[in-house]
C-alpha cells in the first residue's frame, strides 16, 4: 500500500543505503564488543584467515625472494667471517655448557638435600617471523608455526639471548606473537645482581620497557640486567629480559622512573624459539576475603 506512493523504480536496489549503513555498523559494533570483551570469535577469525593467508604470503613473496637471492650470492669473505665468529662462539659456549652441566648436577644434589622439587626443563621449537606488525598501534609479529605444530596461546617466545614475547593467538598454520614492548604487556622479573623482584611493562610507543612502581630508594642501578623470576608460572625462571638504561629519581614522585631496553632482539631477528612444556604450578589458594566483600564490609561498618 505504501509502495504505490513511491516513485517508480527501474531496478530492484534492495534496502536504501541508510538502512544498510545502520545494519552493518550495528553488526560491526556488536562483533567488536564480542571480540574485545569475550574473545568468542577466535574460530571465525581462523576460518577467515584461511582466505587471507594466501594473499599475505603472496605479499611477502618479493621480499622473501630478495632475501633468498641475497643469501645465495653472499660474499665469500662474509661467509668466512661469520663462520669464524660462529666457531669462536661455539668454543666459548661449549665451555660454558660444560660448566652449566656441572652446576645443574650440583644444583640437583643440593635440591635433593633440601627436598625441593627440581626445576623442570623445557623444549623449544624453532619458528620464523613471516610478517611484522602491520598496524601502528600494535607490537606484534606473525610466525610460521601454528596449531599444526601444536603451538598454544600463552607460550613464551625467545631468541638466542632473551625473551621476545608471548603467543597470543593461534591460527591453523600461523600464530601471532605479542612482543614484550606492547603497551602494558607485563613480565615478572628479578634483578640479576641482587634478586630484587619486580614487574617490567611494555611502553608501547617505543621499543622500550619500563619498571613502574619502584620506590625511589630501591636498589637498582643503570646497567642492571633483569631476568625472568619464574613467579606465576608463565615465564620460566632465569631467562634474560632487559637491561636498565636510565633511572630518574625525582623526589616529587613516590616512584622512580626507570626505562629499560630489551636484551633479546625484539625488533631484529628473524628466527625465534617457542618454549613448550612449561610446568603447571599448583593453584594459588583463594584469598580469604575478596575485594568486593571487603568493600561491602566497610560500607556496612560506616552505616
Amino acid at each position: 500500500m505504501l509502495d504505490n506512493t513511491h516513485s517508480f523504480r527501474f531496478f530492484q536496489r534492495g534496502p536504501s543505503p541508510v538502512v544498510r549503513l545502520v545494519f552493518f555498523v550495528t553488526l560491526s559494533l556488536l562483533l567488536m564488543f564480542m571480540d574485545a570483551r569475550y574473545r568468542y570469535l577466535e574460530s571465525a577469525r581462523s576460518a577467515v584467515s584461511v582466505i587471507v593467508a594466501p594473499i599475505q604470503s603472496l605479499a611477502t613473496l618479493p621480499a622473501r625472494i630478495w632475501n633468498d637471492v641475497g643469501d645465495y650470492v653472499a660474499m665469500q669473505s662474509t661467509l668466512k667471517n661469520s663462520n669464524h665468529d660462529l666457531q669462536t662462539q661455539h668454543v666459548v659456549d661449549a665451555g660454558q655448557l660444560a660448566r652449566l652441566q656441572a652446576l645443574e648436577l650440583e644444583n640437583k644434589q643440593l635440591r635433593d638435600l633440601v627436598a625441593l622439587p627440581i626445576r623442570e626443563s623445557y623444549t623449544t621449537t624453532l619458528a620464523e617471523i613471516i610478517y611484522s606488525e602491520r598496524d601502528l598501534f600494535k607490537r606484534k609479529v606473525v610466525i610460521n608455526k601454528g596449531a599444526d605444530a601444536s603451538v598454544q596461546p600463552g607460550q613464551i617466545v625467545m631468541d638466542d639471548i632473551g625473551i621476545v614475547g608471548q603467543v597470543t593467538r593461534v591460527f591453523p598454520w600461523l600464530s601471532e606473537v605479542t612482543l614484550i614492548t606492547e603497551k602494558d604487556h607485563v613480565v615478572p622479573v628479578q634483578v640479576l645482581r641482587n634478586g630484587l623482584r619486580t614487574i617490567v611493562f611494555g611502553a608501547g610507543d617505543t621499543s622500550q620497557l619500563a619498571l613502574r612502581y619502584m620506590p625511589i630508594s630501591s636498589d637498582i642501578q643503570e646497567g642492571d640486567v633483569l631476568v625472568t623470576s619464574g613467579i606465576d608460572g608463565t615465564y620460566p625462571a632465569g631467562i634474560s629480559v632487559a637491561k636498565v638504561t636510565k633511572i630518574e629519581r625525582d623526589p616529587a614522585y613516590p616512584f622512580a622512573r626507570i626505562t629499560c631496553l630489551p636484551l633479546g632482539g625484539v625488533d631484529r631477528h628473524k628466527h625465534l624459539l617457542i618454549l613448550s612444556a612449561q610446568p603447571k604450578l599448583p593453584e594459588m589458594p583463594a584469598p580469604e576475603i575478596s575485594v568486593e566483600d571487603a568493600k561491602n564490609a566497610k560500607a556496612k561498618r560506616k552505616k
Binding site: 549503513l21 560491526s28 584467515s49 594473499i55 605479499a59 602491520r134 598501534f137
Partner: protein
C-alpha cells in the same frame, strides 16, 4: 541473458566483476606488503582508496555490504579487533555511495578535497575505536590519511586508464 545482444551488455557493463574483485585483492595485497617504521606510518590505506573508488563509480555493484566484507578480511589480515576495519569501511562506503553523484560532477582536483574528508572520517573512527578499547592514540597514524588523499589522483587516473584499455579491447 543469452537472448540479449552481447555487445549491448558490454556497453552497459564495461567493467567486469572480475576486474573489480581482483583490484580489491590487489589492494589487500598492497596493504600487506612488509611496511615497517616510517613507511608503515606513511602507508596509504589502499583498501580504503580502492573501495571508495568503486563505491563512487559503481555504487550498484560495490556498496556497503561489500565494503563490510572486505573490512572483515582486513581485520583478520591486520589482527585488529573483529569489526574495526569493517566499521570504518562501512562508513567510507556509505559516504561514497551517498555522495557518488556529487563526486562525479567534480574534476579530480576538486574530488581530492572531498575525498580527504571521507578518509579523515574513517581514520578518526578507527583511532577512536582504538582509543575506546585500548586507551591510547598514535598520532602518526593520521599521516596515512594524508598520503591516501595525495594518491587519489594517480589511483583514479590509473584505474580510469585500465578501464579504457579494457573497453577498447572488448569493443574490437
Amino acid at each position: 541473458m543469452a537472448l540479449h545482444n552481447p555487445n549491448k551488455t558490454e556497453i552497459q557493463r564495461p567493467v567486469g566483476n572480475i576486474f573489480i574483485f581482483s583490484s580489491l585483492i590487489i589492494a589487500v595485497l598492497l596493504n600487506g606488503l612488509p611496511w615497517e617504521g616510517v613507511a608503515l606510518m606513511l602507508r596509504p590505506d589502499f583498501v580504503a582508496m580502492f573501495l571508495l573508488y568503486w563505491c563512487m563509480h559503481k555504487p550498484m555493484r560495490i556498496g556497503i555490504g561489500m565494503a563490510w566484507a572486505v573490512g572483515i578480511l582486513a581485520d583478520v589480515a591486520d589482527a585488529s579487533l573483529f569489526g574495526q576495519h569493517a566499521l570504518t569501511y562501512t562508513l567510507l562506503a556509505f559516504g561514497g555511495v551517498v555522495l557518488h553523484r556529487r563526486l562525479q560532477m567534480f574534476d579530480l582536483r576538486q574530488q581530492t578535497t572531498q575525498v580527504f574528508g571521507l578518509f579523515a572520517l574513517t581514520y578518526t573512527v578507527y583511532a577512536l575505536m582504538h582509543w575506546l578499547i585500548d586507551g591510547d592514540v598514535v598520532w602518526g597514524y593520521f599521516l596515512g590519511c594524508i598520503s591516501s588523499t595525495l594518491l587519489w589522483i594517480p589511483l583514479s587516473l590509473l584505474l580510469q586508464g585500465l578501464r579504457q584499455l579494457r573497453m577498447g579491447r572488448d569493443s574490437r
